[in-house]
């Protein structure tokens, strides 16, 4: 530190440093904690990611750690499975872009997944949070997750849809500030006009929510081919539905 000729530190500089220190400390208290939130556990086709400190998108690979501020983007017919420290996971569907953040401080850690692109969806299976909060956000809505599974879709028209397979979610429309509590088996619509509606899911919607959350039930199709010589060959196709 530079001192004046008398060897004393100017009072103004001390005050400035003190203020900076206090501001830094306060800011640090509400800054995203420097911990790894989780990792990318599975990548199918075109998945890219970038951190909040870089502008370039890089190809994502399974095993990439995820930190607060990281963004993940999927292309057409692509999938990224993100696993969090508590084994919660999010399956980011095709043509989606999300950003994740974690904000700590005096209160519990708040982990947020925000759909940032025009449209996009992800399935989720969030474990019951004990010392933290988990929420999904979009420009229209905030869904506070209490341990549940289902599907979240942010429409390109700024209308959001929450498909809740199980558990309980508090859904808030940011525009109208209207909030409702949704339980498993229901589908809720949070619209750009500030309205929120919900109804029971149809079996098909329930199956779709499950498919989005866990990838569906694996099934196998067995086909047997016979060539001109009468030789038989089997083909097995495994798929999830």
């Amino acid at each position: 530190m530079k001192k004046n000729d008398s060897g004393k530190t100017p009072a103004g500089a001390v005050t400035l440093l003190a203020v900076l220190a206090i501001v830094s400390a306060v800011a640090a208290g509400f800054r995203a904690p420097e911990i790894s939130l989780g990792l990318i556990s599975r990548v199918v086709r075109d998945v890219s990611m970038r951190s909040d400190t870089t502008a370039d998108w890089n190809r994502a690979e399974r095993g990439n750690p995820l930190r607060s501020g990281d963004r993940v983007k999927t292309g057409q017919q692509s999938l990224a499975v993100l696993k969090f420290r508590d084994a919660s996971f999010v399956r980011v569907g095709e043509k989606s872009e999300i950003v994740m953040s974690a904000v700590g401080g005096a209160g519990p850690l708040v982990k947020t997944i925000e759909t940032t692109g025009p449209g996009g969806s992800f399935g989720f299976d969030i474990k019951k949070q004990t010392d933290a909060k988990f929420q999904f956000t979009s420009p229209t809505s905030v869904a506070s997750i209490r341990g549940t599974s289902g599907k979240w879709t942010a429409g390109s028209d700024a209308n959001d849809t929450l498909w809740l397979g199980s558990g309980l979610v508090s859904l808030l429309n940011k525009i109208s500030k209207i909030g409702i509590l949704i339980r498993g088996g229901f589908i809720a619509f949070s619209n750009a006009d500030g309205t929120i509606t919900f109804r029971a899911m149809t079996p098909e919607e329930l199956a779709e929510a499950k498919l989005a959350a866990d990838g569906g039930t694996e099934r196998q199709l067995d086909l047997r081919f016979r060539n001109e010589r009468g030789e038989e060959k089997d083909l097995k196709i495994k798929y999830k539905h």
């Binding site: 420097e34 911990i35 790894s36 989780g38 990792l39 556990s41 599975r42 399974r62 095993g63 750690p65 696993k83 420290r85 508590d86 084994a87 694996e218 089997d234 083909l235 097995k236």
Partner: protein, 783 residues
């Protein structure tokens, strides 16, 4: 129906990924120090399996020979309980074995001892010999920390099926857990240490297997994670399996393979020679275990042949063949059915067994003989059959069962016998579980009929009339008795030897119930029992009769399951039938603390118990009872890395009985044992142990009886020739009032991985009584 597996367990290779400390722990937990094996009536060694919650605990005792021993029973209780549970052990060869059911086990210490029912002139004996009830053997029931608090498996999930290129190994630990040194964490895949290539960031562990050169084939694989503290001591370990799909071809092959039958088999042949007190006894034995499975159906077979099989004694050979499917199990041969223990628990039955499981309905059947006819010059043994039927209904985790047992001696099976007997028991049992078994209510109730002599058959009308002619029986009439005979005689022989002959105080009614509540950190249970004075089940000859009362205990798991506090209270009374001079009350109060250390402090277990026995009679009267036994136990254990890896344990136990009656049967027992197991970097393992016992028994008007002795033991095992040859030896002298030296030497050579030959020699150098010599050769082949 569960069944005890007897000696039919198959050899399994140790997984390659087991950390060096685990075998050491395993040795300590499963192997009684040689010192304990040195001394005892015909006893060569005692072993107890490693405790794992939810699994039965095997206890076995090996004898140099079984000359004069007709049956072996084990008595066990949890530290703090006042009552020992007695169970008959299964004998095969020179070893007796029993599996303690998992619902009777809880941390931290099991106390046990053995009783030998003798067929020779001597009375029953015990091991340990002096005061086994107050100075029993102990087994550590502290679970090995196989689960890691705060560790979350991220990938692959346990049991997950995935493609090879999808495999990613990842888990997280709480970054706030400062006890863990992340840099020391070890990750092993199928025993391959992949730790070096692991990415660690804020308690998140990530490993791409291909970076570590690990490319698993299609099939089942195992991940093992070991966490260490800053000192390099392993804190805990967790292992889980996953499944890698191969290519379509290999996947198909796997599918086909799963439909194919896989067979296993073990053949063990032994020739043995015992020279005991100048008497030479040769033995030749062969045991074959074989099994086949296709994943859905299992076939299991067991054959044990021995030269000890003779018509003049109960069967020594054993055989069994059984088939299992998801809904039906059938078997024929020697089985050891385990049902509600009021009925039968591990008693050998030779015959047919069957189990049907059809949804919520289940049905068990056991039909066979428990003894065979043996003629002797004096009184022989009748052939005794047994039939057990048990329908049961299952609702989720709750079960309601009904059990009936009938057993009868065949009067015509021998020419010269004593009193043939017959037994009929009807019982019901109910287990209700709530909230994922955190609340469990268990109960059983049974009533028995027992006829101590059926030789004359059912009572005749004339006999009934003659009995009632003296008008002694006022509570019921001759016609009542005729009616009862006509009804009951369809099930059991009815005569004047039938118990009960009345329903006053329900002498053959027994029931008991337990409420267990398990919500962290508490594990609480309350039990009430009432066992009738004349209750009898031929399937459960060691059922404690004539007792009623309650017991309660609570365990508190604190400090991340590293601190275990326990306390218990039990109050039991006898004289349920009101035919004794007075009611005797047995009161037990106990407390214990167990600390599982993560640092330099040893693991510590402290226990204190008080057992009081009292009746209201004058202490100076003949039947007066008033005594109290105080017992204190301390156990310390610690792993030390000093040149090699040592695992040391020190156990101290002292008890004193204060008899306040005219008998003045005071006693004081003290035992101290130190045991050090060392695993060296070379394939050498050694054990050094020292045990000291002191017993002093007083009696009014008689000089005190004292027995003081010490046992030292030095044992070593060394592997050489790339583990193909295993050498072991033991030298164990006993000093003091008992003087005998035990010397053992043995070698096992593996011609192939599944073919080995073992030679053993035991010498017992007895002071003033010559030397007993036992040698044997064992050929073992696994298929």
């Amino acid at each position: 129906m569960k069944k005890q597996t007897g000696m039919r367990g198959r050899a399994r290779a140790l997984p390659g990924f087991i950390h060096p400390i685990l075998p050491i722990l395993s040795i300590l937990l499963t192997w009684t120090p040689p010192a304990a094996a040195q001394f005892g009536e015909q006893v060569v060694g005692v072993s107890v399996g490693t405790y794992a919650p939810g699994a039965p605990l095997p206890i076995s005792i090996e004898f140099a020979n079984l000359t004069g021993i007709r049956a072996v029973t084990v008595a066990y209780r949890l530290f703090g309980q006042g009552t020992y549970t007695l169970r008959e052990m299964q004998i095969a060869g020179n070893t007796a074995r029993y599996l303690v059911p998992p619902d009777e086990l809880r941390p931290a210490i099991l106390e046990y001892w053995f009783r030998f029912v003798r067929s020779d002139a001597g009375g029953d004996s015990t091991y340990p010999v002096p005061e086994p009830e107050t100075q029993p053997l102990t087994a550590d029931l502290t679970p090995v920390q196989t689960d890691i608090a705060g560790l979350t498996i991220l990938s692959p999930e346990p049991g997950e099926h995935l493609n090879r290129d999808e495999l990613l190994i990842s888990f997280s630990v709480d970054p706030a857990d400062t006890a863990i040194d992340p840099g020391r964490t070890r990750v092993l895949a199928d025993g391959n240490d992949l730790s070096e290539k692991m990415l660690i960031t804020d308690g998140l562990f990530i490993l791409r297997p291909e970076n570590a050169g690990y490319t698993p084939d299609g099939g089942s694989h195992t991940i093992t994670v070991e966490l260490y503290d800053a000192n390099g001591d392993m804190i805990s370990r967790k292992a889980w399996n996953f499944f890698v799909r191969g290519s379509m071809e290999s996947d198909e092959a796997l599918t086909l393979r799963s439909r194919e039958w896989e067979t296993t088999g073990t053949l063990r042949m032994e020739t043995r020679n015992e020279t005991v007190a100048d008497r030479v006894i040769p033995y030749n034995r062969a045991t074959l275990d074989a099994g086949a499975t296709n994943g859905t159906f299992n076939i299991d077979g067991h054959l044990h042949l021995t030269g000890e099989e003779k018509d003049t004694r109960q069967p020594q050979n054993r055989f069994f063949i059984g088939a299992e499917s998801p809904w039906v199990n059938l078997g024929f041969g020697d089985t050891y059915p385990v049902m509600p223990d009021m009925i039968i628990s591990g008693k050998r039955v030779r015959g047919f067994t069957g189990t049907v499981s059809a949804g919520f309905f289940g049905f068990d059947l056991v039909a066979g003989d428990v003894t065979r006819a043996v003629e002797r010059d004096s009184l022989g043994t009748f052939s005794r059959n047994m039939l057990i039927l048990r329908p049961s209904f299952k609702f989720g985790n709750s079960v309601w069962g009904f059990t009936a047992l009938h057993s009868k001696d065949d009067v015509a099976s021998i020419a010269h016998g004593g009193a043939p007997e017959e037994n009929l028991v009807a019982a019901t049992d109910l287990t209700l579980s709530f909230d994922r078994k955190n609340i469990e209510l268990r109960g059983q109730a049974g009533v028995s009929l027992y006829n101590s002599n059926i030789r004359g058959g059912n009572i005749t009308d004339a006999r009934i009339d003659s009995i009632f002619s003296d008008s002694t029986y006022e509570s019921f009439s001759a016609d009542d008795l005729r009616t009862a005979r006509d009804i009951l005689s369809r099930f059991i022989t009815v005569n004047e030897n039938l118990v009960p002959l009345g329903v006053k105080d329900f002498p053959t009614l027994s029931y008991e119930g337990t409420l267990a509540v398990n919500y962290a950190p508490n594990n609480f249970s309350f039990s009430y029992m009432r066992h009738g004075a004349s209750y009898e089940s031929f399937g459960q000859p060691f059922f404690r009769k004539d007792i009623r009362g309650f017991s309660m205990n609570d365990r508190l798991l604190l400090a991340q399951n590293r601190l275990l506090l326990s306390g218990g209270f039990e109050r039991l009374q006898d004289n349920t039938a009101g035919n004794r001079a007075a009611v005797t009350t047995y009161t037990t109060l106990s407390g214990g603390v167990t600390y599982l250390s993560r640092n330099d402090v040893p693991n510590i277990t402290l226990g204190l118990s008080s057992l009081g026995t009292l009746n209201p009679l004058d202490p100076d009267s003949v039947n007066g009872i008033d005594d109290n036994t105080l017992r204190f136990m301390l156990q310390l254990s610690r792993q030390v890395d000093l040149g090699a890896r040592h695992f040391a344990s020190l156990t101290m136990s002292t008890s004193g009985r204060d008899d306040r009656t005219w008998r003045q049967l005071d006693s004081r027992n003290t035992s101290v044992s130190l045991n050090v197991v060392t695993a060296y970097s070379i394939p050498l393992r050694t054990t050094v142990s020292a045990m000291f016992f002191s017993t002093k028994i007083d009696a009014a008007g008689s000089p005190s009886t004292e027995l003081n002795y010490s046992i030292l033991a030095f044992a070593a095992q060394y592997r050489l020739a790339e583990d193909r040859l295993v050498l072991n030896s033991t030298v164990s002298p006993a000093l003091g009032d008992i003087r005998r030296t035990f010397v053992n030497g043995g070698a096992r050579y593996y011609f192939m991985n599944n073919l080995s030959l073992e030679g053993l020699m035991n010498l017992y150098v007895n002071r003033g009584a010559g030397t007993d010599v036992i040698w044997s050769f064992i050929l073992r082949a696994d298929v």
